[in-house]
Amino acid sequence: MFKAIGKQIHIIWSQIVTLWMVFLHLFTKADTVEYPDVKPYMFPRWRGRIILTRDPDGEERCVACNLCAVACPVDCIALQKTEDENGRWYPEFFRINFSRCIMCGFCEEACPTHAIQLTPDFEMAEYVRQDMVWEKEHMLIQGTGKYHDYNFYNVAGKAIGGKGKGEAQNELPPTDRRSLMP
């Protein structure tokens, strides 16, 4: 009997302690920020709205290799390759359906040219669902994004107009196999 009474007193005591500790939270500072008035600090590597960048010479970086579309777990990237007169590949259209994108960043990791990048912008709400589908002209920016010096065609072996075989950085001139005599 006394054990039972002691147990009840312990129960009530623990409830009172809980009440007191929660009451003390009345005097602590709120952990939340008032979002539209106070913007939270967004880290540079935050994965938000997707952009397509240009190389330092101002040309489109994307070479329409489709690796991002393959890597995308929700298949929300659609693009079509085409070629300009210099032999540079670029996407004829590049479309991301942001109502399906889960901002996983796999496309950025898959991209061999640093063309597609995620930015810290997250305010992408729209009233019309169709407005969530972004085309190339909406995503293509003038700058280089996070990687300022990288120019894919300058380090790649592919020959384009104005740059022949063997002229890329760290690339040896092509070897004439028939002259490789012992």
Partner: protein, 327 residues
């Protein structure tokens, strides 16, 4: 007609308007304080400090589709949510707010409050039964069991007060506390009454009839729009009634503590009554923020195995002391 005496038109209007406004504002106050208790800010966007949040809530509820399920018992379904606010407002009528302020002065005021609290359980039961939904039925069953069992100790716990003040009239109970509040001789009665009162108005943590983690929303699962709003407002009026009843029964009602009376007795009475009521309103919000919901069997065994013996012992000791003092 327009004078400060119990039952005058001015009094009726005052109690009705203030009671309703306070109950409705409690929705906002509760959300703000729940926010503060959990390190948030709560709703603070609509109007200064967010006080118009309630209007936004009401607009939302009124413009929602008011759906009556085709499988329900329509008449009972419509009646059930009306019962709760009506009986709660009726019990607010006997509360003495200050000398001369109040709607009715019944010599059985205490019994009236209990009768009304008993009727309030019909709202839960009928609502759950008429919805013709398994979860509503479970909620109604829980509500009925909880309210009926806790009403027992609630009644016994305040019998000590009736013995001490020799009256069922709430005004006379307040007058009897001029020499000392009943919280001191009736401390255990106070504890039982408060717990039972919370269970009676199914406030958190005794919201088992709703228990949204287990049975969706219990007895009001099928309710939408303003019918649900009536259940909610009824619950908040019940909270206000409970927070006025506790000061009246245990904390001297409108009587000022430590002789801190000022001005005329109506103003000072209203001030102290308001202060005590606000204290308990905030306390109930704190309880909601802090305590977890018990299991149903814990609720029942706690009631019958702890609360009932406690209230009976309290009653026996009070009676014995009063008889001994009477010689």
């Amino acid at each position: 007609m327009f004078s400060f005496e119990v039952g005058s038109l001015l009094n009726i209007g005052l109690v009705l308007v203030v009671g309703l406004v306070v109950s409705i504002m409690m929705i906002w106050v509760e959300r703000r304080f729940l926010g503060f208790f959990s390190d948030r800010l709560g709703p603070n966007r609509v109007g200064p400090f967010g006080i118009f949040q309630v209007i936004a809530d009401a607009l939302k509820m009124l413009t929602k589709e008011d759906w009556i399920p085709p499988f329900s018992d329509k008449f009972t379904f419509v009646i059930a949510p009306m019962i709760l606010p009506i009986v709660m407002l009726l019990s607010l009528g006997v509360i003495p707010f200050a000398p001369g302020i109040g709607v009715m002065d019944l010599n059985i005021g205490l019994l009236w409050v209990f009768a009304m609290a008993g009727l309030a359980s019909y709202s839960t039961m009928l609502g759950g039964l008429a919805s013709n939904n398994k979860f509503s039925l479970l909620g109604a069953l829980r509500g009925a069991g909880q309210m009926i069992s806790y009403e027992v100790f609630m009644g016994i716990s305040i019998l000590g007060i009736v013995i001490l003040s020799d009256s069922f009239s709430l005004r006379e109970i307040v007058q009897a506390q001029t020499d000392g509040w009943f919280i001191i001789p009736q401390f255990f009665g106070f504890i039982v009454f408060m717990v039972a009162g919370m269970a009676e108005s199914h406030r958190w943590p005794f919201d088992l009839p709703e228990g949204e983690a287990e049975i969706i929303s219990g007895y009001n699962t099928e309710y939408s729009g303003m019918k649900f709003g009536l259940f909610m407002i009824g619950e908040y009026i019940g909270m206000v009634v409970l927070s006025t009843l506790i000061p009246v029964l245990f904390f001297g009602g409108w009587l000022a503590p430590f002789g801190l009376e000022f001005g005329n007795e109506i103003i000072s009475g209203l001030f102290w009554m308001g202060a005590k009521t606000s204290f308990f309103l905030i306390f109930f919000v704190l309880v909601r923020a802090a305590l977890v919901r018990p299991r149903y069997d814990q609720l029942m065994s706690y009631g019958w195995l702890v609360m009932l013996p406690l209230s009976l012992v309290n009653l026996l000791i009070t009676g014995a002391v009063v008889l001994y003092q009477a010689g």
